[in-house]
Symmetry: C2
Subunit: 140 residues, 2 copies
DNA sequence: ATCGTCGGTTACATCATCATAACCATTGAA
DNA sequence: TTCAATGGTTATGATGATGTAACCGACGAT
């Protein structure tokens, strides 16, 4: 039976364990970009009813139309978001989380919950680290 | 009482909910980069004993010395990894997860577990999406 | 005398991400 | 007739992330 960690098979060798660099990283990379979590969060606000493009846009201040389009397209590509186009005038486009997208919410919340709880400590560590770096550069 | 989702406060307005774009995204962005999860996974293999730079490096094929250094430095900056330097010759440097880093493992595993379970479906969706895009461009 | 080990740093090129802004088609309203 | 609303696309730059390669210093082994 093979050991596994974070979805990655571990190979035991004489010189130590070796991780198989495997695909799940590309999912984390997608969700780790600048806007994806915000967009998913907006859609998670109304898991049962679709949401119009403009409503999502208004819910995320500072996101540009282009980046929202790209982000939604990526999520759609991964099958996490469904797009419904109604060729009215003016056109109406609605988005909603798919079943797969909704299945992500709980595990995601487990992780973002940890981030929320730990965030202030991480911020403090960053500040301290940067301060030491700055003073250390001249003091060394 | 304020609604919250994925660690982000939600403001209710007449035109719909608005998400406060808040800092936790920067943690996800850090973990979502190309190497961080792999490095954390390596260190999680031996949560109790530190690991040498070279051992981590050998455990992650294809990571360059530079990127491993940068990734470990980032994790150290966030207080997730501790660095121990022994000025011997040749020098010895050991890394280990801090308590904070270890506290991340369970929530992270919840999420990467979902990725592992869903990965094949996501891959399939991507392929299908890209195929439709390619044929659709000419067929439209 | 030269090489290899270890854990880096530095310089440079390349590539992806993101921001900004202009443009598009359609229709109804001012 | 000009304008706004909707949901985009396209062009252009800037910034950031990553890859590649060379170099470092101390020492032990060859």
């Amino acid at each position: 039976m093979q050991r596994e960690i974070n979805g990655r098979p571990v190979i035991e060798t004489a010189r130590g364990p070796v991780l198989t660099p495997c695909a799940p990283g590309s999912v984390l990379a997608r969700l780790g970009d600048k806007w994806t979590i915000l967009v998913v969060s907006m859609l998670a606000l109304s898991p049962d009813t679709p949401m119009r493009f403009g409503a999502i846009r208004r819910g995320i201040p500072d996101i540009s139309q282009r980046m929202l389009t790209l982000t939604l397209r990526s999520l759609e590509r991964d099958g996490l978001v469904a797009r419904h186009y109604y060729p009215e005038v003016p056109p109406r486009v609605e988005y909603e989380l798919t079943a797969r997208g909704r299945s992500m919410l709980d595990p995601l919340a487990a992780f973002t919950g940890w981030i929320r709880d730990t965030w202030q400590d991480i911020e403090a560590s960053r500040k301290e680290f940067d301060d030491v770096e700055r003073s250390g550069t001249s003091a060394n």
